[in-house]
Subunit: 277 residues, 2 copies
């Protein structure tokens, strides 16, 4: 008999939950509605949203918008330039940027204006980090691991992508402290991420196999995978039940199976996948 | 033939040099002149100062001062309460607080007013630390090693005694970063201390014996001793030539002897001691 144990914290966080709910209930009074980039890193959700009449445009396509259109800014947020550009165009903006990300953008803008060198722990290609960097004139030094290989200014302001690992944060702070005489550190790894990572990590120590459910381009899902894989060799990452079906035999012989899911994985996708185990 | 190598940086720092020079040149137009606590941690110097008519009083004796008296505040600085008390009494104040220490007092006062928890790396009994703590209503958490054994407030401001060791600073920052979501760190270990410690530490690796010259109650001299002792078993700390004379045979057989001295050790004391080697 197989025992399936769901991590204490997994799946949608507050910001994503709010964004998905609001995006599906947008009532267009006039014009069309778009999300700027995929609403979340989950194709099943964005396909459903498309069916409901909300399609995705890229930042490069902003010029094609018309005055009566509605644009949804996703949880990751956007650069100041994009935000100001949309305002200047007069389109309706529904800003679903996660409040925790807005807080980071504000700090970065404030300390950049005060002359601090901004350092971001995160993935420089991730839209959240691209957005944050856009609030300090794209001047931030971005490090994915906490290693610092350039000389920094005398005064440094350090922030983190919300979904970063605590150990990378500590590595970065140590490297900053070794060279910087004055720095201000905002540990902006969000509580939901910490709880999700911690409960997945602990669970992965106690099971025979571990299933991590989340979008292929979801940064936080990949980190969950890495954390679990360090403790449990039989850790597998899938996007949905369909993908799990194609490799279900990997779980043969596993009596205790742990399950976790990224911040952008809806509950129905988790349930469908767990049903196959 | 014995080779005596003086550390690249040793002896008086800028703040102490300035304070000693000014204390010896105070011209009393009226009343008496006192230093509040010994001017520096060096009995030879304070004895000379006493001979020149400048004696030492303790903070407990402030009440005995008269309006025409002059009071010298030493490099370590004083609490806000003592400073304001002296001003209210109307005595002449010659403030020789090291400018680097004044900078720490200002930061501590500013961030305490903003609601931050102040953390000081240093010796809670050292007058510099007692003084700094007096600029945040004596509310600071003081740690001599960087270990933190109480829960801190959400926002933390970290400073250091000017003569602390860099490794203790890094230890403290790591401990703060593990629990605090927001902190501002001012590495207020002064450059003179860093240079003095670094050059003593390096020299101690290359010599047969090491002489550390400084006052018995000098915190920074003790740290020099500890750093050198870790590399060189034959490390000895003396206050002056007289004390060295009594244990000079410890240096028997040492061909290369390194010499360093604390921030409050005058050049003539170093020269006198080195003359015996």
């Amino acid at each position: 008999m197989r025992e399936i144990i769901r991590a204490e914290y997994s799946g949608f966080c507050f910001g994503v939950d709010r964004a998905v709910k609001e995006a599906f209930t947008v009532r267009k009074t006039k014009g069309r509605t778009f999300t700027l980039g995929p609403l979340i890193h989950n194709k099943d959700v964005t396909d459903k949203l498309e069916d409901s009449g909300v399609s995705t445009i890229s930042e490069g396509e902003i010029g094609r918008l018309e005055k009566d259109d509605t644009v949804i800014i996703r949880t990751h947020g956007v650069t100041r330039a994009v935000y100001d550009g949309l305002k200047a165009m007069g389109v309706d903006i529904i800003d679903l940027t996660c409040p925790y990300v807005i807080n980071i953008q504000k700090k970065v803008s404030e300390y950049h204006d005060k002359g601090y060198q901004i350092v971001i722990l995160g993935d420089g290609n991730h839209p959240e980090v691209v957005g944050i960097n856009g609030w300090c004139d794209n001047s931030a030094y971005i490090t994915p691991t906490g290693e610092v290989d350039i000389p920094l200014k005398r005064k440094v302001c350090v922030v983190s992508q919300t979904t970063e690992k605590q150990r990378n944060w500590l590595n970065l702070i140590m490297n900053i402290a070794k060279t910087s005489k004055e720095f201000v550190a905002f540990n902006t790894i969000c509580k939901a991420t910490e709880e999700r990572q911690k409960s997945a990590e602990e669970l992965s120590k106690e099971v025979d196999a571990m299933l991590v459910i989340g979008g292929k381009s979801s940064s936080n899902t990949k980190k969950l995978y890495e954390l679990c894989r360090a403790n449990c060799e039989k850790t597998y990452m899938v996007e949905n039940a369909q993908e799990l079906a194609g490799m279900i035999n990997n779980f043969d012989g596993a009596v205790r199976v742990g399950v976790t899911a990224g911040a952008s994985t809806p509950e129905w996708i988790i349930k469908e996948a767990v049903g196959l185990l």
